[in-house]
Subunit: 194 residues, 2 copies
């Protein structure tokens, strides 16, 4: 006798994992929900029971992936005390983690069009972009860079790093590209110092 709550949690987790694998490998549209379910030994009905729709499962997968990246960025930043070092460490952590093909396909490519850009942006701001904005506010408060509106700058840098992550993954030597992107980004940030 397995309790219902445990069974429910197990199935939900298995759907999330299998969905993430397939969404990352094939892209949202090419994924067929029935195969996701069959892949873990259940039927389509289970997926609809848990997530309501194909987009619902995808949304949950996106949220988990974003949270994971956001947590990694936050952890990298918190290893430093100086706000400036936190900002730079966070950026580097994002570029390294963001070049993961699973994250790219799901969060950077498919999510904005499947969920709509507004919802994607809200989710993004709830995870990694929020940290970026806070880090920028901190370096301004510390006087390291000139005070200026945070939001436009955040979106510029967020977009820059998202695109850089996609670029990095497509290069022959991603590790070297992370450094190249990071150098260019550092030059941009350094230029802001007052």
């Amino acid at each position: 006798m397995t309790t219902r709550a445990a069974q429910r949690a197990e199935t939900r987790r298995a759907l999330l994992d299998e969905g993430r694998r397939r969404f990352a490998r094939d892209g949202y549209h090419a994924v067929v929900l029935e195969e996701v379910a069959r892949g873990i030994g259940v039927t389509k009905g289970a997926a609809y029971h848990h997530f309501g729709s194909k987009a619902g499962l995808f949304r949950a997968v996106v949220a988990e992936a974003q949270d994971r990246i956001g947590a990694g960025v936050a952890a990298a930043a918190e290893a430093h005390d100086d706000p400036w070092d936190q900002l730079v460490a966070g950026c580097r952590a994002f570029l390294a983690a963001g070049s993961d093909p699973e994250f790219q396909r799901i969060v950077l490519l498919d999510a904005p069009t499947v969920l709509g850009w507004n919802e994607w942006r809200e989710m993004d701001e709830a995870s990694s972009a929020a940290h970026l904005g806070e880090a920028l506010s901190a370096v301004m408060a510390a006087g390291t860079i000139a005070r200026q509106p945070v939001e436009p700058l955040t979106r510029l840098l967020s977009g820059a790093m998202n695109e850089a992550a996609l670029w990095i993954a497509g290069t022959p030597d991603p590790a070297a590209s992370v450094n190249a992107a990071m150098e260019a980004l550092t030059r941009l940030l350094d230029g802001l110092r007052s």
Copy 2:
């Protein structure tokens, strides 16, 4: 008696226009090819005859939209003689033109996932991103900013502006947001000056 070549060109053009309208309004997946065709008084068969697939029509629409933006950016840049002024004018032109909802939905949101990021990037580099790279090379050659690898910086700035364009269109006052984004971008670029 209308000649076949003329008829062909006319139908092709009408499909491109109607497709662009619908792709922009409803998004790629929500568009049904038969309705695009019916919208201009032909059937699905015509669309397949001309473009081979739904993605084929979309690809052609994307190419035209990118060319249009690229031409606008180039024109804005060529109004100036100084490489630095050309760079700044091109960026502003892109931000203003890129906040057009048609361009956003088609080129920035749907195209990367429908056509694949690699093909999207190739098309992007063939139009607007190429101009950005050339402008950056020019200001380095002129000694206005320090010499550095062009490609990472181009991708960072290209991504920054794409994201900024999406952000701008979602704000209550897009015209003001263009200025805000442009100020932030100018600060970043100014920081690179040697």
